[in-house]
Amino acid sequence: MKVTLKVWKQNGKNGQGELKSYESPDVSPDCSFLEMLDLVNNDLESKNQEPIGFDSDCREGICGTCGMVINGVAHGPGHGTATCQLYMRQFKDGDVLTLEPWRATAFPVIKDLVVDRSAFDRIIQAGGYISVGTGAAPDGNAIPVPKENADLAMDAAACIGCGACVASCKNASAMLFVSAKVSHLALLPQGEPERERRVIAMVEQMDKEGFGACTNEGECEAACPKQISISNIARLNREYWRAKLLEQPVRVEKGG
């Protein structure tokens, strides 16, 4: 099967972008979507033309590197899958596929479909450390965690930081990502000591990076390859105003 690609070509974040057309070679329906792009790029390189810039790493849906918007949908037509988990059989012979990068002020384009997601890393950094004893591995079940919380924390921890939530949100809001990270630790005793500090710092960093504010539409949840629930955003908001209410004013001790 063959498809026509219309790919957003852009050099750097200030570059003037535009769509450029490419024809794929004849590929098997069982070829993965990214392998198809590899084949297109092999072709281009053999003709000494510039390949399409796209990002990938694990190619098994666990690293979050490969995001792109395919025909207006983040990570393409799959449900609960990342771009690298798409196969050509999910498309039809002769399809025209428009490929665009994540579009958000906080995710500047590096090249074509590759964006800089380090804003996410800075949000994680702002969250800081957790206080756990180091040394020998702790005994299993030494710290009791209710089963329900363990499950919710595990679901939230599944977030791979791909940014599809930002890409699919009309406000380019990062609240699904931030809520997953905040929930994951806020639900566990291990996250308790820094619970208030962490949520305030992560939300402030999120705003500083220039992400939008959630409108509770739910497009992010539908696009998320890990199906992170937007009830995490409700928890994020609750954690945030709870932290604001509990926040201790910083006391400045008088010098002697």
Binding site: N171, M175, M206
Partner: protein, 208 residues
């Protein structure tokens, strides 16, 4: 205190819900219009007897609205700045609704409506016979006014069809298991209230 996106959203949600609550009491009282001039005017005069207490309540409503519009304006601008360039091909995954996509423009229509509405009735001329009831009935005999009210109530229904559920989600006060039902309940209540408000001018136009 730093004004963050979440604080703005929480402010917008609380003030929006407060107005939502007011609109329910307002709608209930308005049905007295259909009962006749004495019932309705009696209610309006009863309210006026509260004097300063009423002014405080009215000032509170104005402040709530200003806070709602102010936070909505800031959030909307923040969201535009976050996504200056849209997609060439854009498609939803079916979660977006007409209401969720028209909150800002619908809000502007509501603001214009509220100003006209308050000027028309609260600060209108009550002396043309039958007091406030007479003014309302005479106004609602004008097809242009009735049409305008119905249009404004469509905007209101759209705004609430997304806004009510959205506000509860923003405040994060309900159990997650409520969420699917919440979306439906919010949608239903929102449109029910808008239909209720729209029914009054229509009923007055045809039947009073």
């Amino acid at each position: 205190m730093r004004v963050t996106s979440i604080l703005l959203k929480v402010l917008m949600a609380i003030t929006g819900l407060a107005w939502f609550g007011f609109s329910i009491t307002h709608l209930t009282a308005n049905f007295l219009i259909l009962k006749g001039a004495d019932a309705f005017n009696g209610y309006a005069e009863g309210l006026a007897k509260f004097g300063p207490l009423l002014w405080v309540a009215e000032a509170g409503l104005v402040l709530l609205l200003l806070a709602h519009v102010g936070s909505a304006f800031r959030v909307t601008r923040m969201n535009k700045v976050a996504r200056p360039q849209g997609y060439v091909v854009s498609q939803t995954r079916g979660e977006a609704t007409l209401g969720s996509r028209t909150m800002a423009i619908g809000g502007v229509i509501l603001l214009a409506f509220l100003i006209i509405h308050v000027k028309m009735f609260k600060f209108g001329d009550w002396s043309g016979g039958n007091g406030l009831h007479g003014l309302v009935v005479r106004s609602f005999k004008n097809p242009l006014i009735v049409g305008g009210y119905v249009l404004a109530m469509i905007a209101f229904g759209l705004h609430l069809s997304h806004g009510v559920a959205s506000a509860f989600q923003t405040l994060g006060i309900l159990k997650p298991s409520w969420r699917p039902r919440l979306k439906e309940i919010g949608f239903f209540i929102g449109w029910a209230i808008a239909f209720g408000f729209a029914a009054l001018p229509i009923a007055t136009f045809f039947f009073v």
